[in-house]
């Protein structure tokens, strides 16, 4: 009997399909935000460039590296749980949570600096976009960390296996979405002028 050598490609992304619907909705909201920022900038380029010059690009670099590294750690966690390694999965998830914490601390210092300088949502259009966009993303990082922590707790209790690990993939997909959004947000707000 011959064995078919073709591999059937999946039609659906990893994890629960419901999280992907949620991810699409989130991505749609961020896309509107990004476009609104870019077109608002057309009206007063000098204001946006001056506002951008007050931002800490080094902190943004650190945060970008933290999110990319966190995403990489989550990839490793998923790879290990696919081999049934709950303990290894937990280790990488904790490392990813550590990267999330780095992001929150660095961003917290950035906010403290701006608020200390008297910057608010109503300072000008640039800061309105900067604060609302980055804080909206900040909240998503927190939610992503809560999801990863819940997944790590279940993995620690041996709740996943090589055959049943959809929960890990679901949490991972959300975390990657948070990373993906920042990969556009970082150059748009901090670099492009």
């Amino acid at each position: 009997m011959s064995v078919p050598l073709t591999v059937q490609a999946n039609r659906y992304p990893p994890g629960d399909l419901a999280i992907w619907i949620f991810i699409l909705a989130e991505l749609g909201v961020f896309a509107v935000f990004f476009a609104a920022y870019a077109f608002a900038r057309v009206g007063d380029v000098a204001l946006f460039n001056a506002g951008q010059a007050t931002l800490d690009r080094g902190a943004a670099l650190l945060n970008t590296l933290a999110l990319i590294t966190g995403s990489f750690f989550v990839v490793r966690a998923v790879a290990l749980i696919r081999e049934g390694d709950n303990r290894g999965c937990v280790r990488w998830l904790l490392a990813a949570l550590g990267m999330g914490l780095v992001f929150l601390v660095v961003k917290g210092f950035e906010y403290a600096h701006h608020f200390g300088a008297g910057v608010t949502l109503s300072t000008n259009t640039f800061y309105m976009f900067y604060l609302s966009l980055t804080f909206f993303h900040f909240m998503h990082v927190i939610l992503g960390m809560v999801i990863l922590a819940a997944v790590a707790l279940k993995a620690r209790a041996g709740g996943y296996s090589a055959a049943d690990h959809s929960g890990v993939e679901t949490g991972a997909s959300y975390w990657h979405m948070v990373d993906l959004v920042w990969l556009i947000l970082f150059p748009l707000i901090y670099v492009m002028r």
Partner: protein
């Protein structure tokens, strides 16, 4: 039961031996870090202008596609879900490009 394979052959056939020195996802991670540093370098240079802004945007879109393909696992899919991240990157990417082009005139 004794393993019939010699130990050196057994080691050569083990999953660890078959694993490449750098996993694909590790290579993608290093590319992402490299592109991020390039983006930061462009920003730190203080240079502006439409060509550089569009180049930075292009780098961001490439990074996003790498995350979608390799980290989110869309690379091996068939059907509409395969292109969901690409489409998401394209729409705001084009709009941002148009807005920055308008702003440069």
């Amino acid at each position: 039961m004794a393993n019939p394979l010699p130990s050196d052959l057994r080691d050569a056939l083990s999953p660890a031996a078959r694993r490449p020195w750098l996993r694909p996802c590790t290579r993608v991670y290093l590319v992402l870090v490299g592109l991020t540093l390039v983006t930061f370098g462009i920003g730190a240079s203080g240079l502006g202008g439409l060509p550089l802004a569009l180049a930075v945007l292009g780098l961001a879109l490439v990074k996003g596609q790498l995350v979608g393909d390799w980290f989110m696992g869309l690379r091996g899919l068939r059907g509409p879900w395969r292109w969901v991240v690409a489409l998401w990157l394209l729409v705001p990417g084009v709009l941002i490009g148009i807005a920055f082009t308008l702003a440069s005139h």
